[in-house]
């Protein structure tokens, strides 16, 4: 028995189970984790956007209410100034009271067009303000050096024809206080016209607002900022930027077109959200912004994303920790389960190894697991028993087969040993030549041929075919041949020989075997051939220069069938170079793959070109033709051919 090759070294089942289960579980977990992360991020983002926007709106509202509150007094004064003839007696108390009664107003002026208050004076702009000592102080604005007509607080409301909050500015005097001025134009409406006469202004300090915005903090480093109508920073945690930088200058310095785009949105009076990297903190941040309609400013709130998502991240860390613990547990469980599967399997592997080595009596481990392993164990056990039984059967069969084979060998030995095999058989004979061959089938068929000189002048030859096969046939053939030779020597005719052999064979022929025989006695001196037949195929006669023909045979029953069977002898005269061919039905009944017989017709055709050939050649050619006909089809019967070439006797020899 050949040993199967050892299976290639592979990772154990436990390893693969753990790998595949953990890998697929990890995939599922990661997908769920990823979705959860994304979704919670969106939720947080939405929530934070709302919070940030609320913060922005609250801040906007606070600024708006502060600005609106300051807008009222100048508007009232402006209306007052339009309704009455203006004199200093009217104007100065009005302005004084406005400043005195409104602490939010740092200072206020009523600035007139050139010569509009008094045609003699170019500048007229009484200005009241809260002095450092807490009192309301007064001064006149306007001079060649301070031509207020060209200042924004005067020029812009005049040209735009509407009240305006100025761009915030640093007031140099009060230690760099950030201020903005509200200017309300008033008109001369006398005589149905509407002529610009001047503006009433109110200055406010933005410091308090800026401080409020500075105080806004969201999460750890979130901050708020305020920009003016032109994008300049009014409030920002980085004090260096205030009034020096604008959203746009920062965007240009840092080459950040997206910031410029956001800035344009903001000063365009729109509100919204944006995500970008803060230049101030250098972090990816969420920006919410909304306009301050009164002044055209815009409030923004920046929240660093990492702070927004800090909660998610701590949640995620926890989830990951739980997952890690879970995976460890899962790994242990998988290993335990796979061990419980592989332990009996390993035992089973040990047992099957024994079986593989040929020990079919090995005891398989006892299983009570009730699972596939138990089934497998039972199957292996059944296989073991089946193998055992099979091997026993095979031993038996092969023994029988060996015996049969040896019988066949014996039979073939008997058959072949009985046949004359020396050619040319009679080197001293010049009157004839003879050749014979027997191609035994796998199972010995019991063919026979024989020839011998009965005396100096007479050659006896025969071809026969025993009905059965194997050893009995071989023995029967041996008996027939021996009998025939013994009887021929008594000087009988071929018919008498057959008759005597028949009688001998019929006695004690319990196995009811029989044999067909064609035989002849040739007088080599004269060419007279006496021949007889016992149920055999007719020989082929090839006359010198003639066409092959079947030699007509006398009727005769097979030998060994009936004791009383009668045989007759016929005579034919062979001339010089006539040839005779005897054969068994192994020739004519040889079948090809299509079950087509070789046939007597074919035999005659094959013989035609051989009318001048030597007997050896005739036999060999015919044998080759039969084998060619049979092709791959198994030879089922012995093939026996005997060829005789009668050369005739020269005058010299005849006399001698």
């Amino acid at each position: 028995m050949t040993r199967p090759p050892r299976p290639p070294k592979q990772r154990g089942l436990a390893f693969r189970l753990a790998l595949f289960i953990l890998a697929s579980t990890s995939l599922i977990f990661l997908a769920a984790f990823g979705y959860n992360y994304y979704y919670s991020r969106q939720l947080v983002l939405k929530g934070v956007r709302e919070v940030a926007m609320q913060m922005v709106q609250t801040t906007v509202l606070r600024i708006e209410s502060k600005l609106r509150a300051v807008e009222t007094p100048p508007r009232m004064v402006a209306m007052h100034l339009e309704s009455k003839p203006i004199t200093d007696d009217l104007l100065l108390p009005l302005m004084h009271d406005m400043v005195a009664s409104t602490p939010a107003i740092f200072g206020a002026a009523a600035a007139f067009e050139p010569h509009a208050f008094d045609s003699a004076i170019r500048f007229h702009a009484p200005y009241f303000f809260h002095a450092e000592d807490g009192k309301v102080a007064f001064t006149q604005l306007g001079s060649k050096a301070y031509n207020y007509f060209l200042w924004d607080w005067y020029l812009i409301p005049k040209e735009l024809d509407r009240p305006v909050w100025s761009e915030p500015y640093f007031d140099d005097g009060g230690g760099g206080i950030l201020m903005s001025t509200y200017s309300h134009p008033f008109y001369d409406r006398s005589a149905g016209r509407r002529q610009f006469r001047g503006v009433v202004t109110a200055d406010i300090s933005l410091e308090e607002l800026v401080a409020e915005i500075d105080k806004i903090s969201l999460y750890d480093t979130g901050y708020a900022f305020l920009i003016s109508r032109s994008g300049a920073f009014l409030a920002h945690p980085d004090k260096e930027r205030i009034m020096r930088e604008s959203v746009f200058s920062v965007a240009a310095d840092d080459n950040r077109p997206e910031l410029r785009a956001i800035g344009r949105e903001m000063i365009g009076g729109r509100s919204g959200h944006a995500a970008f990297t803060s230049i101030h903190t250098g972090r990816r941040s969420l920006l919410a912004y909304a306009p301050v309609p009164a002044a055209g400013w815009s409030v923004g709130v920046m929240i660093p994303e990492n702070e927004l998502f800090a909660d998610i991240w701590s949640l995620n860390r926890m989830v990951l920790a739980i997952a890690a613990a879970g995976f460890t547990l899962l790994l242990l469980v998988v290993v335990a389960i796979s061990r419980s599967i592989t332990r009996p399997l390993k035992k089973l592997v040990g047992a099957t190894g024994e079986i593989a080595r040929g020990n079919l009596d090995v005891a398989l481990p006892v299983m009570n697991t009730g699972d596939e392993v138990q089934v497998l164990t039972r199957s292996v056990d059944e296989m073991r028993l089946a193998l055992k039984e099979y091997i026993a059967n095979i031993t038996e069969t092969s023994r029988a087969k060996e015996r049969i084979e040896s019988e066949l060998k014996i039979a073939r030995a008997i058959q072949m040993n009985f046949l004359p095999k020396h050619f040319p058989p009679f080197p001293e004979q010049s009157a004839f030549d003879l050749f014979a061959a027997l191609e035994p089938a796998m199972e010995v068929g019991g063919d026979l041929y024989d020839f011998f000189m009965v005396d100096d002048r007479h050659l006896f030859f025969s071809v026969g075919d025993v009905s059965d096969k194997g050893v009995p046939a071989a023995l029967f053939m041996a008996v027939t041949k021996t009998l025939m030779k013994g009887i021929v020597e008594q000087g009988l005719t071929p018919a008498d020989v057959l008759a005597r052999v028949n009688v001998e064979l019929c006695q004690n022929n319990e196995s009811a075997m029989f044999v067909t025989v064609a035989c002849g006695m040739l007088d080599v001196a004269t060419g007279e051939l006496l021949y007889s037949n016992a149920g055999h195929n007719p020989p082929v006669l090839l006359r010198a220069g003639g066409v092959p023909e079947m030699l007509p045979m006398p009727p005769g029953l097979v030998l060994g069938a009936m004791e009383e069977a009668a045989f007759s002898t016929r005579t034919v005269w062979l001339g010089p170079d006539d040839r005779l061919l005897l054969y068994t039905d192994g020739v004519t009944e040889a079948m090809d793959a299509g079950q087509k017989l070789f046939s007597e017709e074919r035999l005659l055709i094959e013989m035609a070109p051989l009318t001048t050939a030597t007997p050896r050649r005739m036999v060999e050619r015919l044998m080759a033709a039969v084998q060619a006909h049979a092709g791959d089809a198994a030879q089922s019967d012995d093939i026996t051919i005997l060829a005789l070439h009668y050369k005739g006797v020269s005058e010299m020899a005849a006399k001698g």
Binding site: F129, T139, N147, L150, W151, V164, Y169, D203
Partner: protein
């Protein structure tokens, strides 16, 4: 807002003097050398910015000191016009536009141009594309804000193009333009134009008309002193002009260093500007002080340019007679 400013001027004046004294004590050269330095005052025509980078650099790098001058650069601005201060003899040197220099000469103030630093006019008209102004002809019937002090070029521009424009006085900011109060505004290429960009209006949203490119090149900043100063101490004048030219060269060759010097001035004055803006301004100053293709040495004023500008001034009635070129301009101090 306003009264404070008036009080501040006095305070800052005193503070400035104290600061200058302190600086002189702290940073001044060795006492032995100090006696040889001539104290000189210089008033640029506007607040500290890169428009005057060359002078600040010359002062900071000691280019004046090396020439024997202790220059004090005063803070300019609308409340302290350089022309007036020069005329009144309050300062030794100042910068003025060529137009103002000629006008003052005509008005009888004996100011002399001792170095025409800026060769090319940076004055431009800026219009929003949305207003539909694309060509000079499109100004017809529009509201355009124009600085009263610099209205000569725009008016000539409108006249040349035969358009009727409503002139609105332009203040110290571009806010009126930004708020849509006018269709177009005057701007200095090196200053207001960039301020507009930094107020959120993109360059491709504007059409600009650089007046120098429309046949109206009025050379701008020149260094002026009174005639008597030049007569009394021509070496001192030459030292100042040469120091200033060296300052400009250094500023263009070392823009970052120059910007740092300018920003120190800007921050000391607490002005609402930033380094990016000043960087732009310095680069544009390079374009107008050393215009592409120009070969004349720094400080040169050609008679042709002088006559063109003076002719425009006379035509508009600002001056009566064109001053004598060689009386008005002395090339010696700026000649290398």
């Amino acid at each position: 807002m306003i009264s404070i400013k008036i009080r501040t001027k006095a305070i800052s004046g005193i503070a400035g003097m104290i600061a200058v004294c302190l600086l002189a004590i702290l940073l001044g050269p060795t006492p032995a050398h100090a006696e040889t330095l001539k104290p000189v005052t210089f008033l640029p025509q506007w607040s500290p910015q890169a428009q005057f980078a060359g002078y600040y650099v010359a002062e900071a790098k000691g280019f004046y000191k090396r020439r024997g001058l202790a220059v004090t650069i005063l803070r300019g601005g609308p409340e302290q016009p350089a022309g007036d201060q020069l005329a009144a003899g309050q300062v030794d040197f100042g910068t003025l536009f060529l137009t103002e220099g000629i006008a003052r000469r005509d008005q009888g103030t004996p100011l002399v141009n001792v170095g025409q630093i800026v060769q090319k006019s940076a004055l431009m008209l800026v219009a929003r594309k949305a207003s539909g102004i694309r060509t000079p002809r499109d100004f017809n019937g529009r509201r355009v804000s124009v600085w009263e002090d610099f209205n000569l070029q725009p008016l000539a521009f409108f006249q040349r193009n035969n358009v009727d424009v409503t002139i609105v006085p332009q203040g110290y900011t571009l806010n009126l333009f930004l708020m849509g109060g006018v269709d177009a505004a005057s701007a200095m290429w090196y200053n207001e134009y960039y301020a507009i960009l930094n107020s959120g209006i993109d360059a491709d949203e504007m059409n600009t008309f650089l007046l120098a490119d429309h046949g109206l090149n009025f050379p701008e900043d020149g260094i002026y002193c009174r005639e008597e100063t030049l007569l009394r101490d021509p070496e001192m004048v030459r030292a100042f002009v040469q120091g200033s030219i060296e300052g400009w060269r250094h500023a263009f060759d070392h823009p970052e260093e120059a910007l740092t010097i300018v920003m120190a001035r800007v921050n000391a004055a607490n002005l609402p500007t930033n380094r990016g803006h000043q960087k732009w301004m310095l680069a544009r100053m390079g374009d107008i002080i050393r215009p592409a293709g120009g070969t004349a040495p720094m400080g040169t004023l050609t008679e042709a340019e002088f006559r063109f500008v003076a002719g425009q001034l006379r035509e508009s009635g600002i001056i009566e007679t064109i001053p004598d070129f060689l009386e008005f301009y002395d090339p010696t101090p700026s000649t290398p």
